[in-house]
């Protein structure tokens, strides 16, 4: 019977993880059609100035499922294109969500000491950049375009590029051009960095996932209200985000001095926190893992000094970041995570049972 309960908890744990992963993957798929492009690794050439920075994505054309109206998708260094059947007079809203894992950003930070390069700070900036759509090779100005920051979680940050247009004829393909200034603006937006630097080392920037959603808004749609409404929403969201950031910055200030809270604690402000520290230290650890305070820290190598010799151990990303082990990594995480959830559930149930068990009045053999 006990084994059945244990097995049930384990299965529920694994199931919860599956649900969790699924929900997480669908956070940004609000549009009609979408496509997930996992782990596009881009080569980012670092020149002597951001003004000439380029992102080269190669010439990979993705395999699009047959049941998707998006027929093809092409992502290049300075433009992307997709092909679908556009109907004359219909308006379309296209949203592209980029999820970036800048896992080498720690290196940027190290090389650019003193520069205003804090990945966590990109949340404070929302950049709009102009775009130009070529529909069947005929240039057409996009009615509305917006680049919106969504937020950072751990090593990942996402932003959405949205634009809308009305097709002026039956067409089959659209090309969105990211021109030089736009790329430059994108870099500024991402890195909040506008200066020069000396290194010329090629680095990697990883687009972990890319969502594309296309909404057919129908014929005779006036995009004016849409644009106005969306801009108002963006403005409102920005205000909320700034307020949350203010609260978040205040609450995550690790230099918590009790004196700042109230004068009553002036006399009893301890310099050390022996008891509370035992409880808060693991929580601080969790916070450091979940927060954006450790950007790009996942792939950190380890440097040790042993007998006056410096030893550098490379990070394990050379294995786990390979695309062909991504599935194995997910399964490994689900199994291990399921086991942990099972153990956690088991301990919680045991603790609950102990509360109601009158014979259990001891802590580790010590009777209370």
């Amino acid at each position: 019977m006990k084994k059945c309960i244990k097995l049930s908890i384990l299965l529920v744990g694994i199931f919860c993880l599956f649900i969790f992963k699924e929900v997480k993957a669908q956070d940004f798929t609000s549009g009609t059609y979408y496509y997930n492009y996992n782990n596009i690794t881009t080569g980012m050439d670092i020149p002597t100035s951001w003004n000439s920075a380029t992102m080269s994505l190669g010439s990979s054309t993705l395999g699009i499922p047959n049941n998707n109206r998006l027929n093809s998708w092409n992502l290049r260094s300075d433009w992307y294109s997709f092909s679908m059947n556009f109907i004359n007079g219909h308006s379309y809203r296209v949203s592209t969500v980029y999820q970036i894992q800048p896992y080498t950003l720690g290196n940027y930070d190290m090389r650019l000491v003193g520069a205003n390069l804090k990945f966590s700070s990109i949340g404070k900036y929302i950049a709009n950049y102009e775009g130009r759509a070529d529909i069947d090779s005929v240039s057409q100005t996009i009615s509305y375009t917006d680049l919106k920051y969504n937020g950072c979680s751990g090593n990942y940050c996402t932003w959405t590029n949205t634009f809308a247009f009305t097709a002026n004829r039956n067409a089959s393909s659209i090309v969105l051009t990211h021109g030089g200034n736009n790329i430059n603006q994108l870099n500024k937006f991402m890195f909040n960095y506008d200066g020069n630097y000396s290194s010329n080392t090629p680095e990697q920037l990883k687009i972990s996932t890319l969502w594309v959603s296309i909404d057919d808004l129908g014929g005779g749609t006036d995009l004016g209200p849409l644009v106005s409404q969306q801009q108002q929403t963006n403005s409102f969201l920005q205000q909320i985000k700034e307020k949350i950031n203010e609260i978040y910055n205040f609450m995550t200030d690790t230099n918590y001095d009790i004196k700042d809270i109230d004068d009553i604690f002036n006399e009893i402000s301890p310099t050390s926190h022996p008891i509370s520290g035992v409880i808060t230290a693991p929580l601080n650890w969790i916070n450091s893992l979940n927060g954006s305070d450790t950007p790009g820290a996942f792939c950190q190598s380890l440097s040790l000094t042993l007998f006056q010799h410096s030893i550098n151990i490379p990070s394990g990303c050379f294995f786990w970041d390979r695309q062909d082990v991504e599935s194995f990594r997910i399964i490994w995480n689900i199994i291990f995570g399921g086991f942990l959830i099972y153990k956690l559930g088991y301990r919680l149930l045991k603790a609950l049972n102990d509360v109601f068990d009158p014979t259990k009045d001891e802590i580790g053999g010590l009777e209370v």
Binding site: M251, I258, H273, S276
Partner: protein, 98 residues
Amino acid sequence: MISIMFDFLISLFIRIVTIAFIPIDTIVSEYMPNVDSALSKITTFFNYLQNYSSFIMSYTGLYRDIISICITLFVATITLPTLVHGIKLGLKWWEELV
């Protein structure tokens, strides 16, 4: 947004715990310096571990969520028995008083 709220809740809990434990922390640090030193080592140990968690994660291939669950399990393991028996002790005292 959820991540920020999660961080916010943890930070709030940390502050509440810190404030709630001020009297005990003060007593321990003032009158039991050896205990203070010993317990501070635990905090130092966790701070030390923070430096290597990313390196370990890079080799284990575990997601941050899984690591968080792992740490939560560790915290639950060391705190739940104390919490349970604290509740029972409190109830026992309450019964004696009433």
